[in-house]
């Protein structure tokens, strides 16, 4: 980032200044001057590309190539240690006919919804509270980011203990309120809720900080005007804050959707040794887990690649829909 910015601001203005002046001074441009001019022009044109090249080389090697290679693999039957044979769309049609794939897709969707929606709502609320003038604001702002700094593994291990059906704190607490014995590990919805609790816990603070940054940029006059009109705090939140930070909200929705689609570590660790299959009956096997299962447990790299590409296509689809909504929304705001 920094390099490319400096490259343009330093390089191009200076050369545009020196280049013409040089040719004017020397009158008829001799061979050395022409050579120099050419070198300068090359420098101006090529240097920026050279500066940003490292990123693009890395991207090509570690981003683009795997992407394309995975796509290529998805049209082959290939097992670990054997050669690939072309099978066309077989891997994709096999997925279409596979009930485990659909289960994983459904789980990814439900887990995504029950982790993303409450998470973003809570983040919004937290950000609004932190936006007030309050004592030790800096402390609170750092504190809400702390969960984000913990590792998935550590957080999940703690939550596993909390949600343990036999001696976990949550069931003990529920027992006091008389709410029965919840099988957090084996029943479908309790397990999904437990997993989404881990996700929500980790990411709420992160999103809250993003919202907070956006809220700080909302002009204070708007609030003053609203206050003069007699709007309550809640009214201000709904009618001033939310519309003002709408682009930020869309941004977090997109990022969270991507995160939710790739949900992997939490359900894997949560399930322990039945984690890869997402519980005894695939109650919370996500697409990523299914891909891992296909690729590294069974060694069917072609099918795993197909799952990876399906995930990519789903993400692109969701992204496209969200962009459409966003554009629609802008148009409405504009008119």
């Amino acid at each position: 980032m920094a390099t490319s910015v400096r490259a343009t601001s330093d390089g191009s203005p200076r050369s545009s200044r020196t280049d013409p002046s040089k040719s004017r001074k020397s009158g008829a441009p001799g061979p050395p001057g022409g050579w120099r001019a050419k070198a300068f022009r090359l420098d101006t044109k090529a240097s920026p590309y050279a500066y940003i090249a490292p990123f693009f080389l890395c991207f090509a090697a570690f981003g683009l190539f795997p992407l394309i290679y995975t796509g290529w693999l998805s049209f082959h039957e290939v097992q670990l240690g054997t050669h690939a044979t072309w099978v066309g769309f077989d891997n994709y049609t096999a997925l279409w006919d596979n009930s485990f794939f659909w289960t994983a897709l459904r789980n990814t969707f439900t887990l995504g919804v029950i982790s993303t929606v409450p998470q973003l709502m809570m983040a919004l609320g937290l950000a609004h509270l932190l936006n007030y003038q309050l004592r030790a604001r800096g402390f609170f702002r750092v504190a809400i980011l702390a969960p984000y700094a913990t590792s998935i593994a550590a957080a999940t291990l703690v939550f596993i203990q909390l949600f343990n059906p036999d001696y976990g704190m949550i069931n003990q607490f529920l027992g006091h309120v008389g709410a029965g014995h919840v099988q957090w590990n084996s029943s479908k919805w309790p397990a999904q809720i437990a997993i989404s609790a881990i996700v929500t816990w980790r990411w709420t603070g992160y999103n809250a900080l993003i919202y907070l940054a956006a809220m700080q940029a909302v002009p204070a006059d708007l609030y003053e005007a609203a206050a003069l009109d007699g709007a309550s705090r809640w009214r201000q939140f709904v009618s001033v804050t939310i519309p003002s930070i709408r682009p930020t909200i869309f941004f977090t929705i997109i990022v969270s959707t991507i995160g939710a689609t790739q949900l992997f570590g939490e359900p894997l660790m949560f399930g322990g040794s039945v984690g890869v299959s997402g519980g005894t009956d695939h109650q919370y096997q996500t697409l990523s887990l299914y891909m891992y299962d296909k690729g590294w447990q069974i060694g069917e790299l072609g099918q795993a690649s197909a799952v990876a590409w399906v995930m990519l296509l789903i993400l692109l689809l969701i992204g496209a829909v969200q962009l459409l909504v966003l554009r629609n929304n802008r148009r409405k705001l504009g008119s």
Binding site: N164, N185, H282, W296
Partner: protein, 445 residues
């Protein structure tokens, strides 16, 4: 050393990273000065042995076999690359074999994966022991070396131990339920038939103390029953026949019956939350199927408070659950030395030392018949002739053909079938159809 079920799916996040790390470590390690493949040189060399769990060889907690070998061959130093998880170990070994890099001089292979390792794409990377000087498959129990034999007769590994399976039971809990406590009387209750074992469970349940189940898990019962069957998941050619196998049906029906009658504690063996381990201490169950390597687990998890409460009885039918092999990759730099070391480590004398220290029962005939094995006892089971019980069982084991997909099917049956029945109350029929669907998805047949 343990069965693959415990471990195949643990800490999977780390597998890829681990493979990379192992490559780095072993890559550097095998870079020793000596490039010769010859056997007789006195140049100082380091042999690396890759294994998982506890093989009981090392100098710190094991039988100090590495130090002993160093004394016999001062030019050879042995380094162990140990991974705790056998499934993880096998996953990264597969990668290394495919790439033919990062391999140790000796690689251990667990019985759950050995049929997979005898498939051509892996088997060709290992030394064929039938061509190695001093190797005689006849030294091992009849079935042991067969398991590491490829379809064209190559033997890719020398056997370390076997897993004869007895029944560990709680004397105090049996007494409380009005059952005999003497190990011979207990064995007589279920002698000859696993159905009788389940029936004893029903008797136990009728009078058992509150909160105590008869056995720890349906998965454990299933493994114990199946390991004593002569037809398991695959036929002689390695083709998967689990769906029609009488052995699988017997084991499945009995375990399902135990689940439906509430005889199991609904636990999962070796689960990562340690609920199973903790249940030993909190007296949640009265029996557990005990392969010889399990007695250490029983002792450690039950704690000193339960010392003397456990005893070991002969199983209804003898079965083999577990056991490993040592193989030598062809691409190693010191193949001859590695072959010699692998044979020395698995020779009867060394197997006996490991058993005395660790409980891994010898897989060689001479080792098993060694009086030292029969006379071995364990502090945690005072008065129990442990060596005798497991040696007797080991002699009675009926071999069964194994296939490359056995481990996968076993995991699906015990975890997605039986555990689902236990924890979610799924019906037997529906659980079986789920097993079939999952096997079809994973194995494709």
């Amino acid at each position: 050393m343990r069965t693959s079920g415990r471990t195949r799916r643990t800490a999977v996040l780390a597998v890829a990273g681990l493979a990379a790390c192992a490559t780095l470590i072993t890559g550097c390690g095998s870079n020793s000065k000596d490039d010769s493949k010859g056997g007789s040189s006195n140049e100082k060399i380091t042999l690396r042995i890759g294994d998982f769990g506890s093989f009981g060889y090392d100098d710190k907690t094991g039988a100090k076999l590495f130090a002993e070998y160093h004394k016999l061959h001062p030019n050879i130093t042995i380094k162990e690359d140990n991974v705790s998880d056998s499934g993880q170990y096998w996953n990264s070994l597969k990668l290394h074999l495919t790439q033919n890099s990062g391999l140790d001089d000796i690689q251990a292979i667990e019985i759950g994966f050995v049929a997979n390792a005898t498939q051509p794409q892996y088997a060709n990377k290992f030394v064929d022991f039938t061509t190695v000087k001093g190797f005689d498959a006849g030294n091992w129990l009849d079935y042991k070396e067969k398991e590491a034999t490829t379809s064209d007769g190559k033997i890719i590994g020398v056997g370390t131990d076997v897993g004869p399976t007895a029944i560990c039971y709680r004397k105090d809990l049996f007494k409380a339920a009005g059952l005999p406590t003497d190990r011979d009387a207990v064995a007589a209750l279920w002698a000859g038939d696993w159905q009788k074992f389940v029936d004893v469970g029903k008797q136990f349940k009728a009078k058992s103390p509150k909160g105590v189940a008869f056995t720890d898990s349906a998965g454990g019962l299933f493994n114990a029953v199946l390991s004593s069957q002569t037809t398991q998941y695959s036929d002689q050619s390695g083709k998967l026949i689990y769906d029609s196998s009488p052995g699988v049906q017997t084991a499945w029906n009995l375990s399902a019956e135990a689940v439906q009658d509430g005889l199991t504690a609904k636990l999962q063996q070796f689960d990562q939350n340690n609920t199973w381990s903790a249940a030993f201490k909190t007296n949640k169950f009265a029996t557990v199927a005990c392969p010889s390597w399990m007695i250490g687990q029983v002792a450690a998890d039950s704690g000193t408070a339960n010392k003397g409460n456990w005893d070991i009885a002969q199983p209804p039918q003898a079965g083999n659950w577990g056991g490993s092999f040592l193989s030598v990759p062809k691409s190693g730099k010191h193949v001859a030395e590695a072959e010699a070391l692998a044979q020395w480590l698995t020779a009867p004398a060394q197997q006996v030392k490991v058993f005395q220290k660790f409980g891994n029962i010898p897989s060689t005939k001479a080792g098993l018949d060694d009086p030292a094995v029969e006379n071995t006892t364990n502090d945690f089971f005072p008065g129990t002739p442990i060596g005798k019980i497991f040696a007797t069982t080991a002699h009675n084991i009926q071999p069964a053909p194994i296939g490359p997909n056995d481990g996968t099917v076993k995991d699906i049956i015990t975890q997605n079938g039986l555990l689902d029945m236990e924890q979610r109350g799924t019906s037997k029929a529906s659980a079986w159809s789920k097993v079939q669907a999952a096997v079809k998805d994973q194995v494709g047949s």
